[in-house]
């Protein structure tokens, strides 16, 4: 996990090794520390006296250790935007590094006239003007193909107002001379009824015409216009790779251009732009190689364009407190977007196919200085020419990173400790419970001492944890999760028949209903099963122990592929999970537990997100957004294979129910 950069392949090996990542050295030292700790602990555990002493220490220091660990995790995370933990970005890929060329694209006006034609044709046909696009692409000298697709959504999508979708993607391939079509680059423009992206289509055509007359191409370039934004993109990608993951019906592609090396998606809706926003977060929180972003940033600087990340400009003075706080804000936005696991632009769907991709959005706000199409075109020309130079796929730079601004990044080695600290807590608590559970049975026995008669029935293993009472709650929690996953979509028609709601509403409401019903359902199940003769606390302790381990494992796994999601869930669920017990202020615990349940976290995240974007939500708006987000989450899973919904419904929600069970054990 610390070997993210790969310096070995390039010729500049020795040079790179000299400036070998600080992180590697740190991790090396950490390993050694761990080793010595391990042998120390081994030694301690081998001795029963010391073992008992250690257990006592553990019990006594448990709570302070947990608190310290939690605070350390949170503060480490907050500190990520500050200067020792962030580094300046740099282009690692040799092939893209030094060869600065002069961009000569001058087709800005041309692009705008193409865009006007596109709008006119769009109005005439009422959908994507396929014939016009094909003709125009052919006239600029491309090999043109189209692909039709159709998809019936699992339930009507209310935000985009679509249910049975059918459309056509059009793409033209610029064949590189003297190349055998083994590699290609993609420029993609999504077009849908609500966002036409006409100017982007115009720029794409204008760039295609310009690129066609150049002789330096070594990779084929695919100019792709997709209909119904992400649906079209998904259909095209699945057809290109000849797979069917999401049940999309589409015609086979007749033209291909080998392995796609990189893709750039473009969204533009005005003739001039004030800034370019870049989106990196892809499906399931996957990120493109950092070098692609660095490349974009390099051309932003070269063309003196205003470039934003998460809609935020870079702070002028990085070192100041204000700058760092600004960075933290950007970073939090990125964490929230990454945690959502949604593809934030068409590029997000390319990442599954190991194609590095980003989305560029032209923003036209009220700023003074505007850039025309030529400036945007030059940026794209520069990027494509550099990508054309690539010998290998982008792999030299980081794949796991967080961005406090376009020019600075936090590498995986530096942000992982934050989640490490948080996941330390369930471990500690579990250890404590284990010790307590053993002691509960140990204690009285020791007191009995020699009086303990051997005639007593000992067939029943008194030590350790009895697992039978745990079976029912665990099974019921999992079953509730399964119902949460399956029923809303399966039962939408039944619900729509019996209640005065539309299908889409039915799905969301069923989702909420099952979610809430889950709270009521399982918390007395253990009483149904034979009551345990064991100590009064051993039942819930065992359940909590199980829950803690389950939680830690899930969060650990999630944070490996989507740190943001893992961290967000850990920072909310871990303290509540650690605190929950059937004694003490149970009402307080219950409120806390409800507040950190996955659904509530989602609601809270929405509020936080809009707060960070400086567009705060009212409660009603928030609720509406929440319902939308639920529907979108389910749709994303069915349409693109996003994992957030199954992860929450099949993994974390049942786990959370276990703690709910613990709370109402008595």
């Amino acid at each position: 996990m610390w070997s993210v950069v790969n310096p070995f392949t390039s010729l500049s090996l020795s040079f790179r090794m000299c400036k070998m990542r600080r992180m590697d050295l740190i991790s090396f030292q950490l390993w050694h520390l761990l080793c010595s700790l391990h042998s120390l602990v081994m030694g301690l555990l081998l001795d029963s006296h010391r073992r008992r002493a250690l257990a006592r220490l553990l019990l006594r220091l448990n709570t302070p250790l947990c608190v310290v660990s939690y605070l350390a995790g949170v503060f480490w995370f907050l500190g990520l935007a500050f200067s020792p933990l962030t580094q300046n970005t740099y282009i690692s890929e040799n092939a893209m590094g030094s060869t600065m060329v002069e961009e000569q694209f001058e087709g800005g006006e041309h692009a705008i006239s193409f865009a006007r034609d596109f709008i006119a044709q769009r109005r005439k046909t009422g959908s994507l003007p396929v014939a016009w696009l094909e003709r125009t692409m052919r006239s600029v000298g491309l090999e043109v193909y189209s692909q039709s697709f159709s998809r019936t959504l699992p339930f009507p999508d209310e935000t985009h107002e679509r249910y049975m979708v059918s459309g056509t993607n059009v793409y033209g391939i610029l064949r590189a001379p003297r190349a055998a079509s083994t590699e290609s680059l993609v420029l993609i423009v999504p077009s849908s009824p609500e966002t036409l992206n006409a100017q982007a289509v115009g720029l794409l055509l204008s760039l295609a015409a310009y690129f066609r007359s150049q002789i330096y191409w070594a990779k084929d370039i695919i100019f792709l216009v997709t209909e119904h934004d992400l649906l079209g993109t998904e259909a095209w990608l699945e057809a290109y790779h000849d797979v069917n993951i999401t049940g999309m019906q589409s015609s086979a592609l007749r033209g291909r251009a080998g392995a796609i090396q990189a893709a750039v998606a473009l969204e533009l809706n005005s003739d001039v732009v004030t800034s370019l926003d870049v989106a990196v977060e892809g499906l399931n929180g996957q990120l493109p190689n950092l070098d692609l972003l660095n490349l974009f940033h390099a051309f932003c600087q070269k063309e003196a364009l205003l470039c934003t990340l998460q809609g935020k400009l870079q702070h002028s003075d990085w070192a100041s407190l204000g700058g760092s706080l600004h960075g933290l804000q950007t970073l939090m936005l990125m964490v929230l977007r990454q945690a959502s696991g949604r593809p934030h632009g068409p590029h997000g769907l390319f990442l599954r196919y190991h194609v590095e991709a980003i989305t560029l959005r032209g923003i036209n706000s009220f700023r003074q200085y505007k850039y025309d199409m030529t400036a945007v075109g030059k940026t794209l020309e520069g990027m494509f020419r550099k990508l054309n130079n690539l010998l290998e796929r982008l792999h030299q730079s980081y794949f796991f990173y967080l961005l406090p601004s376009l020019s600075r990044f936090v590498s995986i080695g530096l942000y992982m400790p934050a989640i490490g600290f948080l996941l330390f807590i369930p471990g500690l608590k579990a250890l404590e419970l284990w010790v307590k559970l053993n002691k509960a049975d140990f204690g009285p026995e020791e007191q009995l001492g020699p009086n303990h008669s051997p005639a007593q029935p000992i067939g029943q293993d008194a030590r350790g944890v009895a697992l039978t009472p745990l079976v029912a709650p665990v099974l019921i929690s999992q079953a509730t999760g399964l119902a949460l996953y399956l029923l809303p979509v399966m039962g939408q028609h039944v619900a729509a028949q019996h209640f005065p709601v539309a299908e889409a509403e039915a799905v969301v409401l069923t989702l909420l209903a099952i979610y809430v019903a889950g709270l009521a359902l399982p918390h007395s199940t253990h009483r149904v099963v034979s009551s345990t003769p064991r100590g009064p606390d051993s039942g819930w302790m065992a359940l909590k122990l199980l829950g803690l381990l389950y939680l830690a494992i899930q969060l650990g796994c999630i944070s490996l592929f989507n740190f943001s999601l893992g961290f967000l869930l850990a920072v909310t669920m871990v303290p509540a999970a650690a605190l929950t017990q059937p004694n003490g202020p149970r009402f307080l615990y219950a409120v806390l537990l409800v507040l950190v349940s996955p659904g509530a976290t989602l609601l809270g995240s929405l509020f936080l997100w809009r707060e960070l974007q400086e567009a705060p939500l009212t409660l009603a708006e928030g609720w509406q957004l929440f319902l939308n987000a639920l529907a979108q989450g389910v749709l994303d899973h069915h349409l693109y294979g996003a994992l957030l919904f199954p992860l929450l419904s099949l993994g974390l929600y049942p786990c959370w129910l276990l703690f709910w069970n613990v709370l109402f054990w008595k």
């Binding site: 070997s3 055998a180 010998l391």
Partner: protein, 580 residues
């Protein structure tokens, strides 16, 4: 003896008359024909195919030949030393897009391709193959020395000898493709040096590297084969064909216009024929599909035209005989020009009957699928296709997943030959004879698993991917129009590369695009991580052992658990000792 007598005479005459008079004394035993075919392609591009044929009436292997005139000595010696029956070498940069450019006269796969038939007198074919490829590597400055057992196959049916052959035991055939080979001027220069006129005169003056490599497609080849000396075919002659095909991109060079001229393409014009050549022709394809009205104009007007059925299509060629002084009568040089009177609609282009596409499907670095899509666009005739797939060993094919589907139904191949790969030794070889129904699309797919290589086996740029050589399709495609059998020796060179068996069909060999497959590539800073992990393991083991070894142990009252005590009591009871 009869053969030796003229030689002696020849020598004597040479001694008597000096070096100048020898050729007049008896008919030449070798001859050169040169030919250039210019074809405007359906897509609007222009292809130029050069062929230089040297024919030598000599039995290279049997006679200890030491005097060479037109035939290059370096190749002649190669043939006699390694008992080569046939040799075909092509070096190609780019990919012939059959769908848009139509059938080529000679197709070649991207990269380097070499196939050789050895004579049945050769004992160790593999050794000869290895040495031959190394020598060719030196002659043509190509990386043919990378041909080894991991990329060499012996196809059983796809590559038949093109010349006169008495036996076709495929054990004497070797075939290899290097898809990664980059072809450039350093390969062109040695190829040009083999020409009798080098690049000094004749058609070869057009072969200027800076223009030839400013094209969409460049392919040069050398074909050596024995041919019949006369109609009776009692003795054989050796034929060396040097061919070169380039495709000029009319769009970028012509600013959108499709007109072309020799000067615009080659920045040279033709001034004379090669003095050593017995024939020197330039053909320009002026046939137009479907449209009767004159749409194009060639200048200067041709001296004659030639009509024939070429690759299943009736064609008309304007012929320029460079040995005929009338060709150069108007001006000192010949600058062929072609003008389009009305622009032809690109969309109405004719799609060739057979074309194919190949790709890798699936995602992730564990498994994948190789798919080859074969199109038969013939309106009413089905025909069989021989498909040859060579897959490197590091893609582990799952043969049970081989699926051939046409129009949604299973298509059973009538012949199938599969030779499994051996790790680091030989590639997979899959040959199939598949019947393609009329107007159909057939998909041949087979799944594979990507192997993990040893860390030294990765190429210097492992993240670029690994090449899989193209599949080869060989087919007898039925003609739409009947062809008259023509005299082989008299017809133009472009129609006599493949021997045709009958007039109702023509032979086509097609290559699909090569593939680039990514293998699971380790992070090459891994050695460092391995050191870390090893240190950890060693430290943990060492720590615990050291701890155990240096510890002092005290005797302590045993505190047994209930289970142990229970067990001990049982044993004690059995022994008759009071329990604890």
């Amino acid at each position: 003896m009869a053969m030796a007598a003229p030689l002696v005479l020849h020598l004597l005459l040479a001694l008597l008359l000096g070096s100048g008079g020898q050729s007049r004394a008896e008919p030449e035993r070798d001859s050169l024909r040169e030919e250039l075919v210019l074809t405007p392609l359906p897509s609007g591009d222009v292809s130029a195919t050069f062929q230089f044929r040297t024919r030598w009436d000599s039995e290279l292997q049997r006679e200890g030949v030491s005097h060479y005139r037109l035939f290059p000595k370096v190749l002649g010696q190669l043939i006699s030393k390694y008992s080569v029956q046939e040799l075909h070498l092509s070096l190609t940069q780019g990919f012939w897009r059959t769908r848009f450019w139509g059938q080529p006269f000679l197709q070649a796969p991207a990269g380097a391709e070499l196939w050789v038939w050895f004579q049945d007198s050769v004992e160790d074919v593999d050794k000869s193959w290895k040495e031959l490829s190394n020598i060719l590597s030196g002659i043509f400055c190509a990386s043919l020395n990378f041909i080894d057992s991991t990329n060499t196959v012996t196809p059983t049916a796809s590559f038949k000898p093109l010349g006169v052959a008495n036996g076709t035991n495929h054990h004497f055939l070797r075939y290899a493709v290097l898809p990664r080979e980059v072809v450039c001027t350093e390969n062109l220069t040695p190829w040009k040096k083999l020409l009798p006129c080098s690049s000094k005169a004749g058609l070869s003056v057009l072969l200027k590297a800076e223009r030839l490599f400013h094209t969409s497609y460049h392919s040069q080849a050398v074909h050596i084969r024995p041919v019949c000396r006369d109609a009776h075919c009692v003795s054989i002659s050796w034929e060396l064909r040097q061919t070169l095909t380039v495709v000029f991109d009319a769009y970028t060079t012509g600013q959108g216009k499709k007109d072309w001229s020799l000067f615009r393409m080659f920045s040279r014009t033709i001034t004379e024929a090669c003095p050593l050549a017995s024939q020197s022709y330039v053909y320009v394809d002026i046939s137009r599909h479907g449209q009767e009205n004159e749409t194009l104009e060639v200048s200067p007007p041709p001296t004659s035209t030639y009509q024939a059925v070429v690759l299943g299509d009736r064609k008309t060629y304007a012929v320029y005989d460079l040995l005929n002084p009338a060709t150069f009568s108007g001006s000192r040089s010949l600058n062929l020009q072609l003008k389009w009177k009305q622009l032809q609609d690109i969309e109405s282009q004719l799609v060739p009957f057979l074309h194919a596409q190949r790709y890798v499907s699936g995602y992730g670095l564990q498994k994948g699928e190789l798919s080859t899509v074969l199109h038969n666009t013939h309106p009413y005739r089905a025909f069989p296709v021989l498909l040859l797939e060579t897959v490197p060993w590091y893609l582990r094919l799952y043969v049970h997943t081989l699926a051939i589907t046409t129009k949604g139904k299973d298509n059973k191949p009538s012949y199938i030959h599969y030779q499994p790969a051996q790790d680091r030794l030989r590639p997979h070889l899959l040959e199939m004879l598949i019947q393609l129904p009329a107007n159909s699309v057939t998909k041949v797919s087979i799944q594979f698993e990507r192997a993990l290589l040893r860390w030294t086996e990765y190429t210097p740029d492992p993240n670029h991917g690994f090449y899989v050589s193209p599949s080869v399709l060989s087919a007898l495609v039925p003609n739409l129009v009947g062809a008259k059998p023509a005299d082989w020796e008299e017809s133009p060179l472009f129609s006599t590369m493949f021997p045709s068996s009958d007039s109702s069909s023509y032979f086509v060999r097609l290559y699909t695009e090569p593939l680039l497959v990514n293998l699971p590539t380790p992070d090459f800073s891994m050695p460092y991580n391995v050191i870390c992990l090893t240190c950890t393991v060693v430290a943990v083991c060492y720590g615990s052992f050291y701890n155990l070894l240096t510890r002092t142990f005290h005797l302590e009252e045993p505190k047994r658990s209930r289970l142990v005590r229970w067990l001990a009591n049982i044993i004690r009871r059995i022994r008759g000792v009071p329990p604890v």
